[in-house]
């Protein structure tokens, strides 16, 4: 081999053309390569990574204790405002001002990242697991479970999502489940119940088209078991659409949390310093809303954070779609 590659005879040159010179990549590595070439997706990943770091180390990087009431410093505008409607001037100690009780808005917002990150990632993991499994089964086996899935889907699609979340949050908030994790657990459940259907439907559609393909027929011909065909042949081939769906549901979850928080139905803001989740961006927006006429600044910073995270996930999702399914490029 060594000799052949270095020799300069024409025959050897032609022979070397038949060898693949670049290292081989599997489908996912290929997609990853395309993803890293997409500027928007890379920027999105950087922003998401940053916010994940903020979420984990919120207690280390916050300039103030988010629960501390700074008496005499309540209701401050951000530091660049010379004089607000109430005659206060910004204080460089509190870069983004303080809320009605004199708590530092910047520190609270940094802590709020925890909730948004967890709400984006945890329910998505649940719906991927449940949705993929049920979608696979119902697409492959059909029958009553398939019928049940389709009817359930119809109901879920008929019920406006947000109305469902609102009703669930109101009615179950004061039960045992509603009190777990300051109300976050119930939110996860509600989000998962509505969203797993989307994943299941996508997977089901994939299975329906894949199970007629030759490679599945070939696998069946050599006597592969149903389970093997499902998990070794069909599942890996439908991974692309599954990943795309996951990436596109994440921003929806974060937005839902913000909306519910804004309606006072999301996470209960905690005053216990032992809690990991102290407040959420939605709850901060609700706090800020009370003085929207005189002091809209309190809303600005959490609003920017929500927008940034959601945009980052959208760009990543778009990038993933282009990377995993190049045929779809630019269609949306």
């Amino acid at each position: 081999m060594e000799e052949q590659a270095t020799s300069t005879t024409p025959a050897a040159n032609v022979a070397s053309l038949n060898e693949i010179s670049t290292p081989r990549r599997d489908l996912l590595a290929d997609a990853w390569y395309r993803l890293t070439k997409n500027k928007g997706a890379v920027a999105g990943m950087i922003v998401i990574a940053l916010f994940i770091l903020v979420a984990i180390f919120a207690d280390k990087i916050s300039p103030h204790n988010p629960l501390q009431l700074n008496s005499g410093f309540d209701y401050l505008p951000p530091f660049w405002v010379k004089e607000n409607a109430a005659g206060h001037a910004g204080n460089p100690n509190f870069i983004f001002g303080t809320d009605t009780l004199g708590r530092d808005v910047l520190s609270r917002t940094l802590y709020g990242a925890r909730v948004s990150m967890v709400v984006g990632i945890f329910p998505t993991a649940i719906i991927l697991l449940v949705g993929t499994f049920i979608g696979l089964y119902s697409g492959y086996k059909g029958g009553w479970i398939d019928n049940l899935l389709m009817r359930f889907t119809d109901v879920v699609y008929a019920f406006p999502d947000l109305l469902f979340f609102i009703i669930v949050m109101i009615s179950l908030r004061d039960t045992v489940i509603g009190k777990m994790l300051n109300g976050l657990f119930l939110l996860f459940l509600a989000l998962a119940i509505v969203n797993w259907v989307g994943v299941a439907r996508i997977v089901r559609g994939q299975v329906l088209s894949l199970r007629e393909k030759e490679f599945v027929e070939a696998a069946r011909a050599i006597g592969a078991s149903n389970r093997r065909i499902m998990f070794k042949h069909i599942l890996p081939n439908s991974l692309g659409p599954i990943i795309i769906t996951a990436a596109t549901t994440v921003p929806g979850m974060i937005i839902t949390e913000a909306i519910l928080g804004y309606l006072g139905l999301g996470l209960r803001p905690s005053t216990n310093p032992q809690d990991f989740f102290l407040t959420s961006w939605g709850a901060l927006l609700l706090d800020g809303q009370t003085a929207i006429n005189t002091q809209p600044w309190a809303l600005l910073f959490p609003a920017i954070c929500v927008s940034l995270v959601v945009l980052a996930f959208t760009f990543l999702g778009d990038g993933l779609r282009d990377a995993l399914d190049p045929r779809l490029q630019g269609t949306q």
Partner: protein, 333 residues
């Protein structure tokens, strides 16, 4: 095809039934009842609560309550049979005395027409938002496609991406900070909704998502249409560029946009409650949010059902519009 559409229409009935049932069960689990005041106010005393419960039939078993809500039942005081939801009767509101839910939502104030009812206000806001979305979004998409990969295209795409991903109440916050707090062009909570200029901000905010979607969708379809053979043929015939763009490109690029408008309108009507609450808008959405905080069961049921029906009809309308616009499509299961 008529069979298919009839089937879809009939399927509405169980869907509404299930939505009503789910809402009903969940609502009655909610802590607190319709007679609770907020913590500071004096509470309604227990005997009065008992009488109220009897009057509204809230002491009956849940199943009976549900059936009498859906179909009808005898009134406890007058002993006359009152028709339920199937006749369009959504029952009395528990909070607004002497008014039924449908009266509260659909009845305009005296000397005003239907569009001044709560529902009418929301409808008007939704149509204004839709109008803004189309009038701005469509040209944005078309221009983007015609000037693909120029700075104007990039700006439009960025605005559209922001509009699609960022929720409208967050956009509302930015716009309020810019136009109300900094520039003082508009006041946030106006005293009267009879002047047009106070409608612009809530209308724009509400329609922003649809605007962005319209822009992206029309850009994508325009780019597709531009490469079609019939466009080349039109140019080869020697038609002016304007005729080619308007008659051959835009008209064909409109099809997916039009089909998306039905669900978009439903989304605008149902999705407006946060915007309505934010701007103090006297529409159905704010009535819904108020009803939630007051645990006005019948009002929540009523509004949720209206929303669900609107969404279902909008989704169904897509099928009709598809068939009308593209005769090649045949609807079968």
């Amino acid at each position: 095809m008529t069979g298919y559409l009839a089937k879809r229409l009939l399927w509405l009935i169980p869907v509404i039934f299930i939505v009503a049932g789910l809402t009903f069960i969940l609502m009655h689990n909610a802590p607190g009842g319709p007679w609770d005041r907020d913590l500071n106010a004096r509470q309604v005393d227990p005997t009065a609560q008992k009488l109220l419960n009897e009057y509204y039939g809230l002491n009956k078993p849940l199943v009976n309550q549900f059936t009498s809500y859906l179909i009808g039942g005898t009134n406890t005081t007058t002993h006359k049979w009152v028709c339920g939801l199937i006749c369009g009767n959504m029952g009395p509101s528990y909070r607004i005395r002497g008014m039924s839910v449908q009266q509260y939502l659909f009845k305009p104030p005296t000397n005003r027409n239907f569009f001044y009812s709560k529902f009418g206000y929301s409808i008007r806001l939704a149509f204004l938002a839709l109008g803004i979305a189309i009038l701005v979004g469509l040209p944005m998409g078309v221009i983007s496609a015609l000037k693909q990969n120029t700075w104007i295209d990039y700006i439009n795409l960025f605005v559209a991406t922001v509009g699609i991903s960022v929720p409208n109440f967050v956009i509302a916050i930015f716009l309020i900070i810019i136009f109300a707090s900094t520039l003082h062009w508009v006041s946030i909570v106006p005293t009267s909704w009879d002047e047009l200029n106070v409608w612009i901000l809530p209308g724009l905010v509400l329609g922003f998502g649809v605007l962005a979607r319209t822009a992206r969708l029309s850009r994508a379809t325009m780019l597709e249409v531009m490469r079609m053979d019939y466009v080349r043929t039109a140019r080869a015939k020697g038609l002016t560029e304007r005729v080619v763009v308007v008659r051959h490109m835009i008209q064909n690029a409109m099809i997916p946009v039009v089909t998306f408008l039905g669900p978009a309108l439903a989304g605008l009507i149902t999705g407006s409650f946060i915007i309505e609450t934010m701007f103090g808008f006297p529409g159905m959405g704010r009535a819904y949010v108020t009803a939630i905080s007051q645990r006005d069961y019948s009002m929540i049921m009523g509004t949720t059902l209206i929303y669900a029906v609107l969404v279902a009809i909008a989704n169904l309308s897509v099928d009709f519009v598809y068939v009308l616009l593209d005769p090649r499509i045949k609807l079968t299961e």
